[in-house]
């Protein structure tokens, strides 16, 4: 609803028994004028909303949802589906919010060890504007990683000792070392990765996929988000539904956020005294009223509401089955570790992500935050890596052994990079790193991405990209490509533009990493 600022328009609420005053309530206005005003208002509604209603019709066609009664007033026509045959059927995006330093994770810079506490050459920094957190520092002393690296797998990826489990799946990973972004603070940077734009209000990746491909399983949301319990409590990134909203797309494309607790969806069970039949009859009645309203007003938000009611009803059956881990064999717990039994942990969410993938959920986004180590980096990154490493390894391994990795894309990474120079104190065993948008690392696995390769290179200071830069738009274009979607064609008309996940600036599919 937030996408439509005129939603709180009063003209039609009052005569539907709504609580807002209407034209009719105004004293001392001639009746004829009131009628004229209302006619204008209705016409404005028609003009304003009619276009969106048409959009909804197109949407329903694209959706391909076949749930009974859903958008039944829209004649089904055309074919849902991708532009070309997809490689990936689903994706799991492990979002490391706060941004892990590339120096201690995936961008090995052995040359820095000899440059401890030396000043970063001015030529490297190239007059870049820094954040307020370090701009006033007198010096920019180089901080080498205090963690060692070793090569792993046939791929020979250099993997930090912080990730002993992930190192075992090196040959599955496509490591990107040349991501870059314009954003230098968490909020816009996370938004840019999740929605393609630094400003809030755009559809998230999962919403675009839902819009473009519809649901594979009508009983569960197409797009699910989970926010993991925080291993540390400093420098916490704010995560909220602007990161997984449907923006200007129909609200049913927004993610359903599963809560980090014993009850992942509140009020999913019927209250005492209400059985399934009664609940079904109630929802059918409400939907009938909403349908009548839709026929009069034509606001697609009403259809979205109908769809949400029906989805909630279906989730009454599907969610308890989804969240019942009792059927998991002992091998699952050996793989994911004991933390996976504790609802809301990152490990639990990784296991849940596998269960969602098995059930056809198209896009699952798991957030693990507090990677933002401006100080005490060596200590805190170790805590974070331990939280992430085993469960991430377990998820990829589990997907692989169950034959799901070939068509499930896994993404691991943060929103920007960190500086080669230390923020604040610099000792061999203690330092901090500031935000750095010019380069950062991520990895992809499965879903039609070439395994065991590395793409892109940074300079000796991991400060500038020297080969094969990858903008976030390129990552998004590639992701859509794996799902069989042409990023130039997946668009939605809004505010006079054919809006796209990749926007209007140039972007490219990274052919070199396609399997």
């Amino acid at each position: 609803m937030s996408a439509h600022p005129d939603f709180h328009d009063h003209s039609l609420c009052s005569d539907h028994g709504g609580e807002h005053p209407s034209v009719w309530d105004l004293p001392q206005v001639p009746l004829g004028l009131k009628r004229e005003w209302l006619a204008l208002e209705t016409r404005r509604h028609f003009l304003g909303r009619g276009v969106k209603a048409l959009g909804a019709a197109g949407l329903a066609t694209l959706l391909g949802r076949t749930a009974p009664n859903l958008l039944a007033n829209v004649a089904a026509a055309g074919t849902p589906g991708p532009n070309f045959a997809p490689k990936a059927k689903r994706a799991i995006y492990l979002f490391m919010a706060g941004s892990p330093s590339q120096f201690e994770t995936w961008d090995y810079k052995p040359g820095l060890a000899k440059m401890f506490d030396q000043d970063l050459p001015e030529s490297v920094r190239g007059g870049q504007v820094l954040t307020g957190m370090t701009a006033s520092q007198a010096r920019f002393p180089i901080a080498p990683s205090r963690y060692a690296f070793a090569q792993h797998g046939k791929a020979g990826h250099w993997v930090s000792e912080l990730f002993p489990h992930t190192a075992k799946i090196a040959d599955e990973l496509c490591v990107l070392k040349s991501l870059h972004t314009e954003a230098i603070n968490h909020e816009p940077a996370i938004l840019q990765l999740t929605t393609g734009n630094m400003f809030a209000g755009r559809p998230s990746i999962g919403a675009w996929l839902s819009y473009g491909l519809g649901a594979a399983n009508d009983e569960l949301p197409t797009f699910v988000v989970m926010t993991s319990k925080m291993p540390v409590r400093t420098n916490v990134q704010a995560l909220s539904n602007r990161l997984w909203s449907s923006g200007f797309l129909s609200p049913e494309h927004a993610a359903v956020a599963l809560r980090a607790g014993n009850d992942p969806v509140l009020y999913i069970n019927n209250p005492a005294g209400v059985d399934g039949d009664l609940r079904q009859a109630m929802i059918a009645g409400v939907n009938d009223l909403n349908r009548q309203l839709f026929e009069r007003v034509g606001d697609p938000e009403i259809n979205a509401r109908i769809a949400q009611y029906e989805m909630a009803f279906r989730m009454q059956t599907s969610v308890p089955e989804l969240t019942d881990f009792s059927s998991e064999p002992a091998s699952t717990w050996e793989l994911y570790g004991p933390k996976a039994k504790e609802p809301g942990t990152y490990a639990y969410n990784c296991l849940m992500a596998r269960r969602l993938a098995e059930r056809g959920v198209r896009f699952t986004q798991v957030f693990l935050r507090t990677w933002d180590q401006h100080s005490n980096l060596p200590t805190n990154i170790k805590v974070m890596a331990e939280e992430s490493d085993r469960a991430t390894y377990a998820l990829v391994t589990d997907l692989k052994q169950r034959g799901l990795l070939d068509d499930t894309l896994v993404i691991w990474g943060g929103e920007f990079g960190r500086t080669v120079y230390s923020q604040g104190v610099l000792r061999p065993d203690n330092y901090g790193r500031d935000h750095h948008p010019r380069c950062f690392s991520m990895w992809l696995a499965g879903g039609g991405v070439k395994p065991g390769v590395s793409y892109g290179e940074t300079d000796d200071f991991s400060y500038n990209i020297v080969k094969d830069p990858v903008h976030i738009r390129d990552l998004h274009a590639t992701l859509l490509h794996l799902f069989g979607l042409d990023h130039n064609k997946l668009s939605f008309k809004f505010q006079g533009l054919d809006q796209r996940l990749t926007g209007v600036l140039p972007s490219r599919v990274i052919d070199a990493i396609l399997a």
């Binding site: 391909g64 589906g81 991708p82 532009n83 056809g360 169950r402 034959g403 070939d406 069989g484 064609k489």
Partner: protein, 301 residues
């Protein structure tokens, strides 16, 4: 659609005409128009702007036609790339209403656009030779048309929709190319997709290339039905009741590439049966009774 053979024939004709009417130098070396420009137009434009359709009164299947232009006027101004409608149309953003090729057909590559631009810039000559364009990119061979995986389901769309409704399954096109086949999806109500449903899908089975049957009540009886789904590439039977004995029914599926038997009772006898499948690339056996978790067995790191 014109076959590539016909196109080639026409190109040869153009060649011969060129040889007959051209200079001696042209005989020794092909013209840039014939060797670079015409193939690009053939590949992207002639299907709508040729002897058959002539959309907007425009034909692009010969130099003369190209220079004659469309109903609205000439589309090539020799020496003026920016002023040439041909160049403007092929360089518009993919979402522009006027972009060519239209209707979502693949756009010209950067190299192909450069070929057109260089040629117009140099005067849109019919006789200049390849050697006159040292900076022109080479033409990459046209992308091979994708191999059809199944016959087109388009004509049977109504029957497919009726069966979806009847059985509570989804039959989803893999892409907008109808010969890419359909995916059978059961995830919304796996319990409904039983052996009888698989038997009942026989009338549209030849369109199905991917059968997602994980967690369904499918048994060996259902595999008998699948055995006649001639175009299947992938079957997911995770957590079903199928056994090794039932897999023999799949022996005729010569295109089958991937089969997922995770959490089934399939044992090594089943693996032996699978081995005989000529197209099989991968079988997943985690949680089954087989002694391997995948076939072919993963090589030790």
């Amino acid at each position: 659609m014109r076959s590539s053979l016909e196109l080639k024939e026409r190109r040869t004709w153009r060649w011969l005409l060129c040889l007959a009417g051209g200079s001696v130098a042209a005989a020794a070396e092909p013209t840039f128009y014939a060797a670079r420009v015409a193939p690009v137009l053939d590949r992207h434009c002639v299907v709508c702007h040729g002897p058959e359709k002539k959309k907007a009164g425009l034909r692009l299947d010969s130099f003369d036609h190209l220079m004659a232009g469309a109903e609205s006027g000439s589309i090539v101004k020799p020496g003026d790339v920016k002023g040439s409608e041909l160049h403007r149309r092929i360089t518009l953003p993919a979402t522009d209403e006027e972009v060519m090729p239209s209707d979502g057909k693949p756009s010209l590559s950067a190299d192909e656009i450069k070929i057109i631009a260089l040629w117009i810039e140099a005067g849109a000559s019919p006789t200049k030779s390849l050697a006159d364009f040292p900076t022109a990119p080479a033409l990459r061979p046209a992308r091979v048309a994708p191999v059809p995986l199944a016959p087109s389901w388009r004509e049977k769309a109504a029957e497919i929709a009726a069966l979806e409704k009847k059985f509570g399954v989804k039959l989803v096109p893999r892409s907008q190319v109808p010969t890419d086949g359909l995916v059978l999806r059961s995830a919304s109500a796996p319990q409904r997709c039983n052996d009888q449903v698989l038997a009942g899908l026989a009338p549209v089975a030849r369109f199905i290339v991917d059968a997602e049957l994980a967690r369904t009540p499918v048994t060996d009886a259902g595999l008998k039905a699948l055995g006649s789904w001639e175009n299947l590439r992938a079957i997911d039977l995770t957590r079903t009741k199928v056994t090794s004995a039932g897999l023999a029914a799949l022996s005729g599926l010569k295109h089958l590439e991937v089969i997922n038997l995770t959490d089934t009772a399939v044992d090594d006898a089943g693996v032996t049966t699978l081995r005989a499948l000529p197209g099989l690339k991968r079988a997943w056996l985690f949680g089954s009774k087989a002694t391997v978790t995948q076939y072919p067995v993963a090589t030790a790191p």
